[in-house]
Symmetry: C2
Subunit: 582 residues, 2 copies
């Protein structure tokens, strides 16, 4: 068996069925082996970037690992933006790149010219900052070991993407027979002092009278979302979440109070700022959650952060947080060993008021005043029409913010590439999702700007007859940038409005063979549009100055969002603490 | 003056007029400063990859340096494939990326989590393997110095791309007044022992009776193509070239014998294999020139390679070549100090025969037999119609090979991103070329596969009303891969034919607002198509199995190309040496 056949056999033995790829000289042997394997198939994308984003979406949609193959040089570098999506959000994915023959490589010749073999590129060095493991293999033995090692590393601990670079001569090296590792993907869990951590949590919660739990994506990445949701239901402690976590529980849970952050729910933000004990479960508290000035985040609370990654905790040195690191697959055991926190009745009343006043309340005051279409009403309308098991994927910018501010998740899978947040993510991700979950409804949102970056994949969608609904939140430019420019650059819309261009989307998507609907009012969105076979585009016309509401502007704390509340309402939100408004 | 304004003032002071960009949060201050500067303007692309490829084309089209700006994270990583185009082909280009505020960075917090600031990404580490200089600046002083240093490094010695990563707080740092560096771009030339090098060349040529010069792109990169062409005209020594070099001289020169290599001209390849003295001027003799088995390249010749880069010469250790490294701006002085080489009359006769028999002779025996359209005739037809000062740009794959095998350059600028050779290069490169050379005709070629990767830029082209002719050599898949699969994989077209998809190009390009012409015969190509205002697409229908002819197949030397010659013709080509045919 040759190296390329070994790779295919390895992938199949791990239950992988589809490889996302675009061919190219140095990957041809591997791709041929995939094509010849009875239990593997491949999907050809029109740009490697899309293949990597689609692979990222595989785990998020199915819990299986996504796999790409690409050729050396531009094929490999085109993967990088997609790989970064997996890295920053801790998503497992496996990327296998072809490389020039070792005898044609610069290293082999003992010199350091920029390139020797055609399209020779140091992809391992380039990928290292955004992968858990990146290696070039030089022998049959190294290839064997790298495949097992890469998959292990990708799927255990804090998960993430891995890359194996395989020279063409290694693809053709004699490997011997393939032996199935019957263990499959082994996921060893580091032992942990459960009692010690539980004691730390108990000590922390014992002092609480205004407790709040912060539900992070780490809970779901460990597969422990049901156990944590059960604990939350039992303890009745109020909780908030990050966007990436919000796919892991039912938003109908009575103690769920919304997402936190710069674009967070006002009520959730008030609770963070007024709690006295904040227990963070597996969130990295990104700066879009705490705001750029982290000292203003939960300043009256003791904060205890639990996370799988010690480096995520090391960053809180100057914040004075208490921390504990352990593999979250122990989280149910840890929580079972804790005492439920006590809440004052005043806190319970305040939580109830904040939830009643702000949870599920979404308004575009701009659209109301201008008499234009509200993005919030559009998303609520779609929310009401999609299936309970739909996969709903988001891109970036204003379209992303509007979505996560509004969407009330019951059973759906909702996600975006939160930390990397590239424009153009949602369309290829939707293709990846539909390929691995063909029985589920798939809907993707993007802005008009983001939709363009991977528009070439419309043909991939049509070619494979994938039923995907694409929602373009079309505000004629980069709305989130305009909103920043309004505040910081005197409303000069350089490169966000001025100089930006978009095609006639109706003409382009119909040219690709998709159905097109122009949406000028939420009532134009109809259930039957979601049942059309093949690709459908809903082009949602939003006034170009429609802002994200609410939003924290630069320098303010998260409980003082634009549009600014009256002093009375602001003070009611901050019932337990005193804030000087800026 | 703030950091962002300083950057704009610096660019303008160096004569830069256009910045190619796509906006995003961390780049907004820099882009605003560019927009506000009276002598700068910007072009908005729909994907940063296209901006970087367009910037690469700026130098190739105008001799000026191309500049991009992009935001952190995906904005920056999207540049990488374009930056690599500049790196491998020694093209100067300057890339300025926005980065998160330093106080929001992982480094500032003294921890090593994957990411702290939103979209924080280690772009400097990722870009280092494909740039001459990549740096993140942390202070006003560092920014000032980095701008001058980067431009110097990019444009001197062996040129190449550079990257400066500018945190948002440095973009807003107080810089003081901008002081013009009246030296402009200073390009110091290292001193060199001209007599010593000339002596080496003289010693080398003194032994020659069958001399051959190899004209490399390094000659043109140093701006010394006219001097070298004059020396060649004067000495009458026969010469061959690489593809990247072939834009630097008039193909009508009587002693020019064609391009060398795997896809090279049969006559040029015979000359390389039969010469006794090969003088290489600034070519890195890439493996597509020497073939994968370099021991079979010019095996009967003494080879002297002159190059600017010592590392390019270090790789010849096992080849036994003589070498000398120096800045090619000394090349005219060096050549002036040499004696013209002597040729035997037998060699002169052989050169004349090879040129007569093979130079400018292009046939698709496949198309002749199948009665289908010959790509060679299409390119000759376009060659005859384009202006003498046109800029003609190429993509990759079979379309690229057919073009460089055929195009007879008189005054045109012809180029491709040779070493990186990414799919999707030619369309954004054509946009970059037309923006900096609006008075010249711009034509770009690509395959149907490559055309799709940056198809989103059709709107950029239309928005700026750029008159660009796009030629799609449409063979319904990846022809160059199929040709490889025919020989090496039993004709299984996995991911090159099977699984590949393309849209109806007529519908898509018309949807974007371009004119479309379907070309089924060279006679369908008309002069007036090149005079249409706005974008024009010529969709050239090529049978999907049309191969590249001639082509060296794996393991053979460059003088034994497919389709295989009769033994008689093969022996006539190899008149001076004995080859065992494989």
């Amino acid at each position: 068996m040759q190296g390329c056949q070994y790779i295919a056999a390895f992938l199949a033995s791990k239950g992988i069925e589809k490889v996302f790829l675009m061919t190219g000289g140095a990957a041809t042997f591997m791709i041929d082996a995939v094509g010849q394997h009875p239990n593997l198939d491949y999907i050809c994308f029109q740009h490697e970037q899309a293949a990597a984003m689609a692979a990222d979406a595989v785990w998020r949609s199915s819990g299986k690992i996504g796999v790409t193959m690409a050729t050396s040089g531009p094929g490999a570098t085109n993967l990088l933006t997609g790989i970064a999506c997996s890295y920053f959000d801790s998503i497992p994915s496996l990327h296998i790149t072809g490389q020039v023959n070792m005898r044609e490589s610069a290293a082999y010749l003992g010199a350091a010219p920029r390139q020797v073999g055609f399209q020779e590129t140091k992809i391992v060095d380039m990928a290292r900052p955004i992968t858990k493991y990146a290696v070039q293999v030089r022998t049959a033995a190294e290839l064997k070991e790298a495949l097992e090692t890469a998959l292990q590393i990708s799927t255990t601990g804090r998960m993430g993407p891995v890359l194996i670079d395989v020279p063409m001569d290694v693809q053709q090296a004699e490997m011997g027979e393939f032996e199935v590792n019957h263990l499959g993907v082994v996921a060893p869990v580091d032992a942990v002092d459960i009692d010690g951590i539980a004691r730390k949590i108990n000590d922390f919660l014992a002092l609480a009278s205004r407790p709040l739990v912060y539900f992070g994506a780490g809970v779901g990445l460990a597969g422990e979302e049901r156990a944590v949701a059960a604990w939350l239901a039992e303890t009745k402690v109020p909780f908030v979440s990050s966007w990436n976590a919000s796919t892991y529980f039912d938003h109908d849970l009575p103690n769920y109070c919304g997402c936190v952050g710069v674009y967070g729910n006002r009520g959730a933000n008030f609770l963070v700022q007024n709690c006295d004990s904040l227990l963070v479960l597996g969130s990295r508290l990104d700066n879009r959650q705490r705001s750029g000035n982290t000292t203003q985040f939960a300043p009256h609370a003791n904060t205890l952060v639990l996370d799988i990654d010690v480096e995520e905790l090391a960053k809180y040195k100057s914040d004075g947080y208490t921390t504990a690191a352990f593999d979250f697959r122990h989280l149910p055991s840890v929580l079972a060993a804790t005492q439920p926190p006590k809440s004052s009745s005043a806190w319970r009343d305040h939580v109830a008021l904040m939830k009643k006043r702000y949870f599920g309340k979404h308004r575009s005051t701009y659209a109301e005043n201008a008499g234009t279409q509200s993005p919030y009403e559009v998303i609520q309308r779609i929310n009401a029409l999609v299936n309970r098991d739909a996969i709903v994927i988001n891109d970036t910018g204003a379209a992303l913010c509007w979505f996560f501010q509004t969407f009330h998740r019951t059973g759906q899978t909702i996600f975006t590439a939160g930390g990397n947040s590239p424009m153009g993510y949602s369309l290829p991700a939707a293709i990846g999702a539909k390929v691995v979950a063909p029985g589920r409804q798939v809907v993707c949102f993007s802005g008009d700007g983001g939709f363009q970056l991977n528009i070439q994949e419309l043909v991939t969608l049509v070619h494979h007859e994938l039923d995907v609904v694409i929602v373009i939140m079309n505000n004629g430019g980069y709305g989130i940038i305009k909103q920043f420019q309004d505040v910081n650059m005197g409303g000069r819309y350089h490169a966000s409005g001025r100089g930006y261009s978009q095609p006639d989307f109706r003409k382009v998507v119909e040219a690709y063979g998709l159905r097109y609907f122009r949406i000028e009012s939420p009532a134009d969105i109809k259930l039957e549009q979601f049942a059309v076979k093949g690709g459908v585009v809903l082009d949602v016309i939003i006034d170009q100055n429609t802002p994200i509401e609410p939003k924290v502007e630069r320098g303010r704390p998260i409980n003082d969002q634009f549009p600014y509340l009256s002093d009375t309402e602001f003070m009611e939100g901050n019932a337990f603490v005193t804030y000087e408004r800026q």
